[in-house]
Symmetry: C2
Subunit: 465 residues, 2 copies
Amino acid sequence: MIDQNTICAISTSPGKGAVAMIRLSGNEAIPIAEKIFKPLKKGKTLKSEKSNTTHYGGIVDKNGNLIDDVIIALFHAPHSYTGENIIEITCHGSQFIQQSILQLLVNCGARLARPGEFTQRAFLNGKMDLSQAEAVADLIAASSKAAHTVALKQMKGGISDEIISLRKKLLDFTSLVELELDFGEEDVEFADRDALNKLISTILQLVTRLTDSFLYGNAIKNGIPVAIVGDTNVGKSTLLNLLLQEDRAIVSEIAGTTRDTIEDVMIIDGIQFRFIDTAGIRATTDTIESIGIKRAYKKIEQADIVLVMLDASVQLNETIKFMTYLSGHLTDKFAAIVINKIDIADKKTLNELTELGNSTGFPTLLISAGKQRNIDELNQFLVSSAHKFQGSDSDVVLTNLRHYEAFLKAREALLRIRDGLQNNISGDFLSQDIRECLHYLGEITGEISTDEVLGNIFKNFCIGK
Amino acid sequence: MIDQNTICAISTSPGKGAVAMIRLSGNEAIPIAEKIFKPLKKGKTLKSEKSNTTHYGGIVDKNGNLIDDVIIALFHAPHSYTGENIIEITCHGSQFIQQSILQLLVNCGARLARPGEFTQRAFLNGKMDLSQAEAVADLIAASSKAAHTVALKQMKGGISDEIISLRKKLLDFTSLVELELDFGEEDVEFADRDALNKLISTILQLVTRLTDSFLYGNAIKNGIPVAIVGDTNVGKSTLLNLLLQEDRAIVSEIAGTTRDTIEDVMIIDGIQFRFIDTAGIRATTDTIESIGIKRAYKKIEQADIVLVMLDASVQLNETIKFMTYLSGHLTDKFAAIVINKIDIADKKTLNELTELGNSTGFPTLLISAGKQRNIDELNQFLVSSAHKFQGSDSDVVLTNLRHYEAFLKAREALLRIRDGLQNNISGDFLSQDIRECLHYLGEITGEISTDEVLGNIFKNFCIGK
């Protein structure tokens, strides 16, 4: 499945830096590097050097002109990232030098690597399974601690080991069930139905836990969606600006690398929150079905956390109407009633609003976005909601849509197997369902894969990885 | 002069990449790395490993949580870039990981490196002289082949060796001249005046050649300034767009890394050209001192290469007037008369214009910017002018303003010494001039340097180099 070409790419971030690294992998990596590398020590050859050593020298073109002084690191197959021979060239970080060296490598017989091709080779050479390979891209893209932790766990084999082991057990059962079929009418039973039932329950439990975790996993990866709903005058944008500014430095650092706009993302305590559609809504019309309210509902639907913002300085009637409209749409959400402008509200209104807030059963927070009062409490609410949403911290979390879909399909097959066992279904139907389950579990770890699936996975990688 | 801190920095280009490299240099580099590195092989320690080896393992925080899988490269003093112990950590290229590892290193006792501090230490530890250190920054900034070649030559010791050797010889003479002074009235002469005179001539020759080369060196570094002068209707912008578009891909690649705007820079045959003030001028007023003409003169003054563009489809009277205004301002320039719109001109006018062009003594090029005719010839003119301007290709070229100014001052002192020798000046005056010359030559290579000078030089480096 692996073509025999030696591939090369710039593996460090594009642009100018102090240094840059160009990676070369394949059978011909060492001979190709040898053609353009002039070691400091005369007579030294890369070929005769040990694995895991570094070598100082010059990169020269075919006319012997020096291009740069570099350090070459040498990794022998199979003890390398790809499992092939790898040469890493660390050069000065000018783009001219990077491009020149890449050009020389291509002239000497290497081919430019496709996105993710190094990792793809690592997978094909058995250095990691498919879900681990996918985690490499997630790890590089992770911009918050939570997303990083989830990706790292997956890269270190998080779900793979368990899936592979359970799948193997299931495979043993299929063999036995299929052996029974060979005996046709003899009505033998090699596969212990009780033991199989138990195994199916174990796998179902794992698969259900994992598919359940996807909602959180996806939120972790892309930011937990938070909706701030409220009338246009309640101080929503003041609050949002305040929240965002506090972490602006962190957010700015990842600008352009994770998303096109940075305005509505912030990281608190290592968790990324994403504010969805922060445009104001007006709830002052009399019809419940007004556009404003419809928009509020839609925002709430998309969110996992909802901040219902009330203005402590306005007439209570409007506020109560607004709350009436919203109530019933907040079930299954982590919501809080945020009463703003407490610095300019009269005490009576404040008390009444607090009572109204408490009556919803959701926590009520009294803040002043303008005077920056009690903002910490609000942050705490966001973080603790995220933690509750997450469940146990040590659990492996599903973040990958492809895995999620495969697990959903495996789950369907598992449910059919369970029902079949209860109804003493015939061996050939049972075998078919088990085969289907094996297929979907195998797709996740890559024990079963097609060129098309691999192509789709690796095309989203960055070049050089 | 070197503080004893161990310094760290991200050395690869900022941003997300497949991998990134963090560099650590100083006495404590290995013990600090040891604190956060968990090698794959248990019991292995970096301390006991050989120089120029690489090691696979995990970076862990103080609670033992894994941050990333990395490769560590180890370089023992003095055989490293800085001359100190160096640890290079190659991690996955997420910004979260890069920042986390940097934070861990700081927590374990390293300090964030200042811009150019690794190279500054390399200089202070005698790994390179000051002009070589400065060339490192130029090498990283170089975006054209010519600028790269010049920087690389300087980094490999281009001017240093000769300067250092000549300076040493001059130093010997000073000692002898100053010894003469000790003998006061005795009128002895230890320093051979003829030999000294010969040495001064040799140094003067070198210094003059180098200061002469600065004009070209500076142009190579920042792009050779080209002015296109001509009436607004002659097709200047059409030509410029045409020239720029041809190399737009190359130019775009270096956008943002070398200059804020890319519109007016292009690279032909590895040489960078910079088009200065390409706004149109009008030469249709009757007074020679019109604003348009003044602006044309100014543009010509700033340029090394001048393209005088004429429109073959307009009345000859205006053209002749324009040429009259310009002539006499093109001496010392590489100029060409570019006659545009040859596709729509009548033959008679074309002949007359060609004659007019030829009468200037500059090459006359007949082109059509609109129809893209004879543009190659124009490119060839630019490249060959650049080569003529450059002089011999093998010569070392001065690109650094600081070196240029020091050489100019050294040259003044050398001229005084030469005059002094001719006039049998007294030893104490001679000694003073020689000392001054020694000082300026020493400043270039860094044999003489102050913290202020060093500070000014390295503050313009990128961090991590």
